[in-house]
């Protein structure tokens, strides 16, 4: 089992997602929530780094936080999976441990 990383900050404001990706081992997963969901957007200055990371890690994004911010499913990088809180709970349970990148 691998690690679940959670990121709740905008990658344009803070270095959190950047640092998380740099430390995420192959096979681990990253969940984007709160302002972290902006990291899932297509066509941004960080999207290339996220796409590259997706070769090694699975990326999830919380749908309720996307909708709160007016971001449509179409605006999200292809391959990022949209989940909800029950899904977040399942991810925490199915990974060996959880690291919150604050």
């Amino acid at each position: 089992m691998a690690m679940l990383h959670t990121v709740n900050k905008s990658p344009f404001e803070k270095n959190t997602l950047d640092s998380c990706i740099d430390h995420a081992l192959k096979g681990s997963s990253i969940l984007l929530f709160e302002d972290g969901v902006y990291g899932a957007l297509k066509g941004t200055t960080i999207a290339g780094k996220v796409l590259q990371a997706m070769g090694d890690v699975s990326v999830y994004v919380l749908g309720s936080d996307l909708r709160a911010r007016g971001l449509s499913e179409e605006s999200i990088i292809e391959g990022i999976k949209i989940t909800d809180y029950p899904g977040f709970v399942d991810l925490a349970g199915s990974h060996a441990n959880v690291q919150s990148w604050l």
Binding site: N8, S64, P86, V89, N97
Partner: protein, 130 residues
């Protein structure tokens, strides 16, 4: 599965407490156990009973308390962080010579050992913060 939850920020100013609440609620609804919710740093402000949010907004403290009532949740506010920030129960208030207290009924004040214990006893510990 048994989860432990740490909340590091106060209500409203950051989304952390909302997110921790949603996670906790979803875990309980799936039949999981929440060993403890531990409020640290500015998170201790979640345990104040004096908040009066606008009527068209949520009351985060009351949401936590309703969940605690329904599921017998253990809501623990860190004593050291709480004293520093002025979140007191009746006995802490008296002991420190203060004339009022502000802890909400479903929260209890205890030491940092309760966080370590949550880490030891829970199968997964999740931290919600800034």
């Amino acid at each position: 599965m048994k989860f432990g939850i740490q909340v590091n920020e106060g209500p409203y100013n950051h989304q952390s407490s909302d997110s921790a609440y949603q996670f906790t609620k979803a875990a309980l609804e799936k039949g999981h156990e929440i060993f403890r919710v531990f409020f640290y740093h500015d998170g201790v402000y979640n345990g104040s009973r004096l908040g009066v949010p606008p009527q068209d907004d949520r009351n985060i403290t009351e949401l936590w308390e309703a969940l605690a009532e329904e599921h017998d949740l253990d809501l623990v506010v860190c004593v050291a962080a709480a004293q520093r920030r002025g979140v007191l129960d009746a006995s802490e208030s008296k002991r420190n010579g203060k004339d009022a207290d502000n802890i909400a009924p479903k929260f209890r004040i205890s030491g940092l050992g309760q966080l370590i214990e949550a880490g030891v006893q829970s199968e997964r510990l999740l931290v919600f913060g800034d």
